[in-house]
Subunit: 339 residues, 2 copies
DNA sequence: CACGGCGCCTGAAACATTTCAAACACTCGA
DNA sequence: TCGAGTGTTTGAAATGTTTCAGGCGCCGTG
């Protein structure tokens, strides 16, 4: 219960009547110290309330025992599930996980990257605002392993993502199977690779089926949020009933939830008047008033795999970047099934 | 672009032809070094790609530039909004924020606390699994400022929370105003102080109004999750219509969303057949199919205040623990308003 | 008895930074 | 020309840990 600065190895050594090195050995290679001594040291540590100073250890070791994840958007539960997966893997490797949130702002992201480099983290996982940002390349150039999550930059970095083209395809395939002939694809901004690819998958399937291209409408949004989903719903309602899509594929679940809410609010029946498919399959999708059909990403697996990749890169002397691609899966629920 | 270990102050000094101390001064007190030298040093830093080693700085300084937040449940958006508030305050103080997630498990919480102590964080903010846990006291005993968020432990720690008794009161007051005469209070486990206090507030108001106590039913749940909300809904449906509550006050929004979903799914009209009030006012509450009336906690403010409190405790030589209490506010939406 | 080997422990060096007293080089005024 | 003062730079010490070569004492073997 000593006040003042917290006790150091030196204090413990003095209290136990041994040298610094012995105390260190008790902590790091207990097998080389005799049981009697070990016991004495351990007692001293407990008594003084010794807590190892991680900075000093790190300084000496040259590297930290920490991984970092820079999230794109803390308000999207999807990223928390990914984080959960990362944390599991980090725990297995006995590493701590530092979670940051860029809130989709490039300046915050850069700030976080900078701090993390100063901390000498072992590796970084990131869903970047822009996969081409020079900041990412900076990190890599310094030899810090970096893995993109839910984004891809072939050749440049390792990455873990889902096959978005396939995701778009199965979403629309499901809607066509349910008999829909006019479908809206909702998402944006178009600068997002994911949005482009999911749309592409949708279009591929559509043209393979020989369906008229003008019956697959792309409705761009400014962001992937609930609010934007609502506003897309209003735009949708403005289309004359004859030409209005009977189904919508949203590029993520937040958009889909917004759309769902707006549609119900204006008296539409789901799925009879409007069927909705989301993407990500976040927990709230299943819990929505009309449970949401969604294209599931294996969220936790994504995180786990990313963490393993970053550890692999950290361990290997020589390393070749890899792009891991997971297969998305359609989870059909009431928002597309009429009976 | 040197490979091998990353450049140190020494390397920069050599490159710029100055001493270690000068390089350090350029970083920490630029005003004392002549513009010419400063320029030379800065050029050398850029050229070598120098990144300050935070471990060494910390070791020397004796304290880190980091705050930590140990979240109780990463899947509840409420805590993310709190985290956001904390981060804002941390940014103002030029500190990094370390976010951990205990997932409501005491062992994970203890592990995190331990690691954070080893990191010598400046202070901790935590929504603990159990406010009475000896681990928390351990931290405090070591002189690390610690502030409870959304929990209270008078005398022991500083804390920031909302007046839960008042929150329960206004929720039920609102329902009574809407003409309801039989109300269910849903939440649990009862070991949660919050649940007890929100229930107490509800009962206080109920008895003040002279309403029959048996018409205010407490329905305990095993946890505060969407799934538990659904199951509470099923239990509610099992009550004979004559005696069934016409309104429910849920101890958080996740429960309320689960209940809402179950109720809609079984054909009830909200709010005509069942009115629902949640607690927390998370973002998804407003976005629910029937927008949810909720007792708003000033989530971001909570986080901000907690961070300020912890910084205050860190700065002050002498400190007396304080319990900050915020006032909750009812946000009425469609789930309780019939027109 | 001498000696190698073994088990256990010690002490010093190294890690990258900050701080601070002291040194240094000028300039100005007396 | 000297001294004081000012502005800038230096070098060494200190932070807490880990590692590693070496030392000490003891046992068993030759």
């Amino acid at each position: 219960m000593a006040i003042g600065r917290s006790p150091s190895v030196k204090d413990v050594a003095a209290a136990a009547g041994v040298s610094l090195g012995t105390v260190s050995n008790v902590m790091n290679r207990p097998e080389v110290v005799s049981p009697a001594t070990r016991d004495r040291v351990e007692r001293a540590m407990a008594e003084l309330g010794f807590v190892r100073n991680e900075s000093a250890r790190q300084l000496r070791a040259g590297t930290s025992r920490t991984l970092a994840y820079v999230m794109l958007d803390g308000s999207n539960p999807f990223f928390h599930d990914v984080a959960q997966g990362i944390e599991l893997a980090a725990e297995d490797a006995d590493l701590s996980l530092f979670i940051c949130n860029s809130n989709a702002r490039a300046d915050r992201e850069a700030l976080h990257l900078d701090r993390l480099m100063q901390q000498r983290v072992q590796g970084m996982l990131i869903t970047p605002v822009d996969p081409e940002s020079p900041h990412l390349a900076d990190v890599a150039r310094r030899g810090i392993p970096i893995v993109l999550v839910d984004r891809v930059a072939p050749g440049e970095f390792c990455s873990v993502a889902v096959d978005d083209v396939l995701g778009g395809r199965i979403a629309v395939e499901h809607l066509v199977e349910q008999g829909h002939e006019r479908v809206a694809v909702i998402g944006g901004p178009e600068s997002l690779g994911q949005v482009r690819e999911r749309l592409e998958g949708a279009r591929q399937f559509w043209s393979e089926q020989g369906l008229p291209p003008e019956d697959l409408t792309f409705m761009p949004t400014a962001a992937m949020t609930v609010a934007e989903g609502r506003s897309a719903g209003e735009r949708l309602a403005g289309i004359p009933a004859r030409r209005r899509p009977t189904a919508a594929f949203c590029a993520n679940d937040l958009l889909a939830l917004g759309l769902l809410q707006q549609a119900i609010g204006s008296g539409l029946r789901i799925p009879d008047d409007l069927a909705i498919v989301g993407f990500d399959d976040i927990e709230f999708a299943a819990a929505a008033a009309v449970p949401l059909t969604s294209v599931r990403q294996p969220r936790q697996e994504l995180g786990k795999a990313a963490a393993q990749l970053v550890l692999e890169e950290a361990a290997a002397a020589t390393h070749r970047h890899r792009q891991l691609t997971f297969t998305p899966e359609l989870v059909a629920r009431a928002s597309t099934r009429s009976h």
